[in-house]
């Protein structure tokens, strides 16, 4: 019950802070809300990978943000290769091609993350806890180094192939096709993921491994395969996130994942690390805080607000919003 009380308190505080803004100029408020949900959807996709990896091997995977950027970088040449060009492509074909590209990017991204796990984290599974943390930082540098070599240090234009149409909601508030694509993609992937985790055999194995690795092994679960699958799925979601980030913002950079990764990790902790719904909720929340802070409060301090809220939440709910109290071992 404490959880709900706390959630209600958080929502109340937000309502008090935001109601005057909403009353003052409702269309602007609604527009920001739409942007915030779209941004938050991307954070949610990254945060899910963080939380899954943490849940299963208790590693803060600092390279995950760069796996997200990799998704954007991998999809760029594919978009060109499949003949999609800015402004020219219309019709159902575009959507099918984009879906195909997304599937390819997600698969490659997942494969790369499995290799990363195999090389950089698996040899250290029984090592001191901080050793894999440092290799994760190393992998992050390697991925950024590769993308830097590939596309240079400055912002790279990402092809703007989605239709630019937008619909008026209320007054000057618009929702564009891009917003809808981002939000829908995130919703669909989150639903697929929770179905997979709760219904499939591999999902069950993941939950068992996260709960007690040794006991799971004794029950005949192939631990290595399960952990590989976790990394694969995490990177699939991050890859999708990277691609829709590119399609949405049309600009990417090699070190994009650094800050996005930090914020997504914050989102995962905010929601209760190891908890899938928590990560999705946390991502959404961070996106909203970011957009509202930029619009209404001191934008130079946006990240400071986010981290300050996080610290406050953790002080009052030490395991995050939806995290459970784990019994003492």
């Amino acid at each position: 019950m404490g959880t709900w009380l706390f959630l209600v308190a958080v929502v109340l505080i937000l309502a008090v802070l935001l109601t005057p803004k909403a009353v003052g100029n409702f269309p602007l408020f609604l527009q920001n809300l739409i942007y915030g949900v779209a941004d938050g959807s991307i954070y949610a996709l990254i945060a899910l990978g963080y939380t899954m990896v943490y849940g299963i091997i208790e590693l803060i995977n600092f390279a995950h943000g760069d796996v997200f950027t990799l998704g954007a970088f991998l999809s760029m040449p594919l978009i060109g290769a499949f003949g999609l060009a800015e402004g020219k492509s219309t019709g159902v074909g575009v959507w099918l091609l984009l879906l195909l590209i997304a599937v390819i990017v997600m698969t490659i991204n997942g494969g790369i993350n499995v290799v990363i796990e195999r090389v950089a984290y698996r040899p250290l599974r029984n090592a001191p806890r901080l050793a894999p943390l440092i290799t994760a930082v190393g992998v992050s540098f390697i991925l950024e180094g590769i993308m830097y070599l590939w596309r240079g240090a400055s912002n790279v234009h990402y092809p703007d192939v989605l239709p630019g149409a937008r619909f008026a909601v209320i007054g000057s508030a618009f929702i564009s096709i891009k917003d809808i694509v981002v939000i829908l993609t995130a919703i669909i992937l989150v639903i697929l993921l929770s179905l997979f985790i709760s219904r499939s055999k591999l999902g069950k194995a993941m939950r068992a491994t996260a709960q007690d690795r040794e006991a799971a092994q004794l029950m005949g679960i192939d631990i290595n395969r399960t952990i590989s699958a976790t990394f694969f799925i995490g990177a699939v979601l991050a890859g999708a996130g990277g691609m829709i980030f590119g399609l949405y913002f049309n600009s990417v950079r090699f070190d994009l994942g650094f800050e996005a990764g930090l914020l997504a990790f914050t989102a995962a902790v905010f929601g209760g690390i190891g908890n899938l719904q928590g990560a999705a909720l946390g991502g959404l929340f961070i996106g909203l805080v970011q957009v509202f802070s930029n619009a209404y409060f001191v934008s130079a301090l946006t990240d400071a607000w986010i981290f300050a809220i996080l610290i406050l939440v953790l002080v009052f709910r030490p395991t995050g919003l939806l995290g459970m109290q784990v019994p003492e071992k």
């Binding site: 806890r129 901080l130 290799t135 390697i142 830097y148 914050t266 981290f307 953790l314 784990v326 071992k329």
Partner: protein, 406 residues
């Protein structure tokens, strides 16, 4: 060094001896290497010392007490800004309308106390959190501090305290105390040329010697802490918090103490850094600095002071000497073996110099991964930890941050 018996103790003694010899001979070595122009290298070594201090301090938090701190650079920033604000003309433009020039030697202590104070303010409400939640709280704090510092510049609603994005410039250098520099002594300390802390670029030897003294003091302090009752309590908390609490250790107080003491080392390093550079800017204290210090500690060998010092030096040399000079070296090598054509840019090839420079990230990442996979316990781990790892005394990983609050 009560624990340090056996070959690891001998090894630590060897490392200390080698480090002392190296530190004392370094100015001469630098002169020989550069043909009499070693001052630049000595200055770089003095800067490296800042990271040695930071690594020793973070080792107290991470290595001794087992608390993962991902925002350690914040305390470094607090130390540097404390000195910068109270030893320059900066506060003249602040709502105080008065500039302070408090002596460096006093500010060393004040910087330590202020940083420790912030450590307690952050730690008191959050240290009951589980290990990795604590890590994210410290990470958040580490991000908040530079942002807030940058915000409190010109145009902020509470006045200009920190000069914002420009950073505080023209910070006072240390002044030798009156009884050393007074007219009755003659020219101050004739052995070292220009021993007056006024020109660190041309004559860095004064700062270098000061750094050696600071590092020596910190090593002795950290060593004594480790071998004291407090140090043993930290170890107990690190290994099993519930058992430690059951044995009568006030775990929260011990963790808070580790946090505050670790922060105070960073505050000390910050004051020195501000004085040597004569400039502090919020850009120098971001997350990446915290991560670099953590890398130094883990790669050197958590919990073992000489290991951590070696780790700090190796990482510093790799990042700021090898990787920055590598492009020039490779270019020189190419010219030497008759491949100077590679040095020019044509088409997509931007020339060997810039191509190698672009490899920096990649090389550093590869080094981290390879070293950690080959030596997960770090280069020179502490003896106790090594036993636990190699002889399998502890079945679970030794550095377990999952302990629950009691």
């Amino acid at each position: 060094m009560r624990w340090a018996t056996g070959w690891v103790g001998d090894r630590n003694r060897t490392i200390y001896t080698l480090l002392i010899i190296l530190a004392l001979l370094f100015p001469a070595i630098a002169d020989v290497l550069t043909g009499g122009e070693g001052n630049h290298l000595v200055g770089t070594a003095a800067d490296a010392g800042v990271f040695v201090l930071l690594a020793i301090g973070l080792n107290v938090v991470v290595g001794f007490a087992g608390l993962l701190d991902l925002g350690y650079a914040a305390f470094f920033a607090i130390g540097a800004y404390t000195y910068g604000m109270f030893a320059s003309g900066q506060l003249l433009g602040s709502p105080l309308h008065h500039e302070f020039h408090i002596p460096f030697w006093l500010m060393l202590i004040v910087g330590m106390l202020v940083a420790a104070g912030f450590g307690i303010i952050l730690g008191a409400p959050t240290l009951r959190l589980r290990g990795d939640y604590l890590a994210i709280v410290t990470l958040g704090f580490g991000e908040i501090v530079p942002l807030v510092v940058q915000y409190l510049g010109p145009g902020s609603p509470v006045g200009n305290w920190t000069a914002g994005v420009n950073g505080i410039a023209a910070i006072d250098p240390p002044k030798l105390p009156f009884f050393v520099a007074g007219p009755w002594v003659g020219a101050p300390i004739q052995v070292v040329k220009n021993f007056d802390f006024t020109n660190p670029l041309a004559y860095p030897m004064d700062f270098y010697l000061l750094m050696l003294v600071l590092v020596a003091v910190c090593v002795v302090l950290a060593n004594n802490l480790y071998n004291s009752r407090i140090g043993r309590a930290w170890m107990a908390v690190r290994e099993d918090e519930v058992a430690a609490a059951a044995s009568g250790i006030n775990t929260v107080a011990m963790k808070l103490m580790a946090f505050a003491i670790g922060a105070s080392f960073a505050g000390l390093a910050g004051s020195y850094y501000g004085a040597k550079l004569s400039l502090v800017s919020a850009d120098n204290f971001h997350f990446i600095v915290s991560v670099t210090i953590l890398i130094m500690v883990v790669l050197g060998g958590m919990g073992n002071i000489p290991g951590v010092i070696v780790g700090a030096l190796l990482i510093y040399i790799t990042q700021f000497f090898v990787l920055t000079n590598l492009p020039d070296w490779v270019t020189g090598l190419a010219s030497l073996v008759g491949l100077s054509g590679l040095n020019q840019s044509h088409g997509d090839w931007v020339g060997l110099h810039d191509e190698v420079q672009r490899l920096n990230y990649l090389i550093f990442g590869l080094i981290l991964v390879v070293v950690m996979v080959l030596r997960p316990q770090g280069l020179f781990p502490s003896r106790i930890r090594e036993q636990e790892l190699e002889k399998g005394i502890a079945e679970e990983s030794v550095f377990d941050l999952r302990e629950e609050q009691p």
